[in-house]
Symmetry: C2
Subunit: 290 residues, 2 copies
């Protein structure tokens, strides 16, 4: 089911992602409203023309108005919000999210849906090192991946609608994973990388470091500017998967340490060749999935 | 002492860096010759106009011709080359290098210099994930750091000349470190980052990973495409410093693991705030040192 522009869209939470959704969807001609905590976020999005109207409190009528609601909230706030407001969704409506962890969220969110309302989860893998609607831009979706994480409760129609949303937003690739597989992969490609960046940044306190760094250090620590509220919550929710990825990574790093300490250049080179080979796969141009 | 364009420059080794030096210096009007192993590298650089002449074997007359020789060679080849050819340098000549490790190289290189010839070491912190003169470009020096690593055997004149070379090449910042301090810092900002990228790439074998990654994973593994001959040699030469950086980093990562496993969100956030604060220093614009 294609997401046609006559669908009415409600965005809950005008942060970096919610604002970027609002920008992308209003540009495509959708009717977009927003509910968010701060009046200045509403004002900003109104002024930019990203939303038609905005409120700072949940409004049952607005929630019932929407064909598709996007919950762009921190995980624990998302569940609290649904507990209080899910009853206002209209039958036939769809609800999606942007949360970076899935197993702990999707089942509970689906249980909270009233009859005839479908929650279909998705993870837009896009972001910046800054937050807030003032930093929103639909540009962050270009070249990025969008992962739909359906459960057995989802319908083909809901899944298709959610995929279509990813395409409308401008993502380069839309794919599907189970919530469990998503969380294992995200622990690796996103959460572990943030743990590494933080550890790399805090393991040395030389104050003049920036005079001596090359691109590699700057690349590896770009994400070391981290929103601690959001990431510590995401880490905690997914901590089992993340710990097992930390252990796998630490094991490989220890392997390098052993080869170095033993002077085993052959094994070290072998590992580097494998790394080069696997990384080369990433440099192939992305295919548009549309 | 400013490096004036009447100085005659010999580049030994036309790889990625040697070629980029040749390009930058010939553009500035220097007379540049090259000695390198492969005739096709000579032909490429000649055709581009980066060198006036090139040879595939060391030529005593050419070595004596140079006011400044740049050794753009792997560490062990650099020392072998000097053992065989340092005697041909003319009194008053200067010799520099591009090697990524210093302590093990500089002392030995300085011992190999004939009377009146000064070896002044430098590390241009620039590179690409590809090698060979065909991929050379002086663009890699823009915004990058250049570190001169003098010893007590160096003269103010030699140090100034080498700094001037870094500026002529177009580096954003030229600084000085002792070889020992350089090696400790490089173990951290460059060698450790390469170990991390390789470990991150090899610790998970999911073949469809590229469908699910965000920018962070791609940033952290860009350098996982690695020249295994060069890096395993650099790692081995600097292995004590590198192992101690691996241990410091692994300790921090383990700290995150402990906070996660204990559910200690406060400590985790504290570490993230420190990381954010320290990383922010890097996003200030670089000052030109010229």
């Amino acid at each position: 089911m294609e997401l046609s522009t006559n669908k009415k869209i409600l965005i809950v939470g005008l942060g970096l992602l919610g604002g970027s959704y609002a920008q992308a969807l209003s540009r495509q001609g959708f009717s977009v409203r927003a509910i968010t905590r701060r009046q200045d976020s509403v004002d900003f999005a109104l002024e930019k023309g990203w939303i038609e109207a905005g409120k700072t409190e949940p409004d049952p009528e607005w929630i019932g108005w929407a064909d598709l609601t996007v919950l762009a909230l921190y995980p624990h706030i998302l569940l609290e919000w649904l507990q209080a407001n899910a009853k206002y969704f209209s039958p036939g409506a769809f609800v999606t999210d942007v949360t970076g962890v899935k197993s702990a969220i999707v089942d509970r969110a689906q249980e909270l849906m009233p009859e005839g309302v479908e929650f279909i989860a998705a993870h837009p893998m896009a972001g910046r090192e800054v937050c807030g609607v003032e930093n929103s831009t639909a540009e962050i979706f270009r070249g990025a991946n969008y992962i739909v994480t359906p459960t057995e409760k989802n319908t083909p129609k809901g899944i298709a609608l959610c995929r279509s949303l990813g395409e409308r937003l401008g993502f380069a690739r839309v794919s599907e994973l189970s919530p469990e597989k998503h969380d294992r992969i995200i622990a690796y490609v996103s959460q572990l990388t943030h743990c590494i960046a933080v550890s790399l940044m805090t393991c040395n306190m030389d104050p003049r470091l920036q005079d001596y760094t090359g691109d590699s250090f700057r690349d590896l620590t770009r994400i070391a500017r981290i929103n601690e509220e959001m990431w510590s919550e995401l880490f905690q929710i997914n901590k089992e998967a993340l710990i097992s990825q930390i252990d796998a990574f630490a094991g490989e790093l220890h392997r390098i340490r052993t080869y170095l300490s033993d002077g085993n250049e052959e094994k070290l080179k072998e590992m580097m060749r494998l790394s080069t080979e696997r990384r080369a796969l990433f440099d192939k141009p992305l295919q548009k999935s549309e």
